[in-house]
Symmetry: C2
């Protein structure tokens, strides 16, 4: 078999994640309206969120701190502070929200786990990612779990070295070209892109044209078993 290790991204690859943030922004807009304020432009929200990444990284905490900051700034501090308690509650609701798997994930991951060692490689808040994995019902299928603060070629190289697997025998599966696909192709590994319609604008990058070798794309995670067999 050509493949020694099969790795999955988690957020927006195995389970819904971006929809939580979309819903969070809706709650934020509704809150502003209820208190008689105009909805801040999406661009301002994006801008403040991106400015805050060096402090908070990616995840619910930075998202909600950015909403609070935006609400105070665009209202010149006139939004009642009681409204901001609803945003603190939003952070708790997001952190404890039910984990909703995409269709076909459970069967596919279970089936692949009997054929390959599986690894989860996910970026974000350590505690929140562990909690989601536990609640997903998928934990038992993954032999290795890597929760990292950035997913660049250096991170993947370190993971492969620790696992004693060479890149040409490694395949990474995920929804983000920037985080899951390009760094793995750069190292000489295989990558399967499962696009997600809701991927955050900050994540969108182009793919080289023509498409690189060892790159595959599918809309359905259930295609993976036959796809990986063709590699192996």
């Amino acid at each position: 078999m050509l493949i020694d290790l099969v790795a999955f991204d988690a957020d927006d690859t195995l389970w819904h994640n971006e929809s939580l943030y979309t819903n969070g922004r809706q709650r934020f807009r509704a809150l502003m309206q209820v208190h008689g304020f105009e909805t801040p432009p999406e661009e301002l929200l994006d801008e403040i969120e991106i400015q805050n990444i060096p402090y908070y990284g990616y995840g619910v905490n930075g998202f909600v701190f950015s909403l609070i900051e935006t609400a105070i700034r665009v209202t010149d501090g006139t939004i009642p502070s009681g409204a901001l308690l609803d945003l603190v509650q939003l952070s708790k609701d997001m952190l404890s929200a039910e984990v909703q798997l995409f269709d076909g994930v459970q069967e596919t991951v279970a089936r692949l786990s009997s054929q390959y060692p599986l690894m989860l490689i996910t970026k974000g808040d350590l505690r929140h990612q562990q909690s989601k994995l536990q609640r997903s019902g998928l934990e038992e299928y993954f032999r290795f779990i890597e929760i990292v603060s950035s997913k660049d070629a250096g991170t993947y190289a370190r993971i492969l070295e620790d696992a004693g697997v060479s890149a040409e025998r490694f395949v990474m599966i995920g929804n983000s070209l920037r985080s899951d696909i390009l760094p793995v192709l750069e190292l000489g590994g295989w990558a399967v892109h499962i696009p997600d319609p809701l991927t955050w604008s900050h994540e969108i990058v182009g793919l080289p044209d023509p498409a690189p070798e060892r790159f595959f794309e599918t809309a359905h995670i259930t295609d993976l078993p036959s796809l990986l067999e063709r590699l192996g």
Copy 2:
């Protein structure tokens, strides 16, 4: 040599951490006073912080969300929201604060790194812990880094298994009896307690009496080289 792996806790063992939170609470009290509100009792702050741990875990984000929640609650939502922007700024200041090593840490860690493989085992926010380690100037001395969401016997057992080290050839050094010392003694490992005067009340637990075997205590990290030599 009896010891195959020497592990350190980070916060309040290698560098100041609790003092950041003490200063954060001082800024919070000053902020309440400036806006004409009474200082909430410390017990209420503790209570809200502990209630929020299941959501945020340990770290700056949960601490500051708890301060915001407390400020809104104790003022019945009458604190101006502009004041809360100062608390968002507090979170950024804490996350980017200079890392201040305790006296003797740099020399001691450097010296031990030439005699033993060193591991850092620290609990908390992944990104923040990595950032502090990078800024501490100590990263080069640690062969292994483990950033974990809880420090119980199961966590240490998993770490030792991954490292291929048996507990009786492992020593853990830290300021927290609950997180650094007791779980390691439970597994049959060695532990050196370096008490910190500012340890958070939530962390205080008793030590069995008489003191367990393989347990040592010292006020000075510079005592470690001779102490470890006596074990080995």
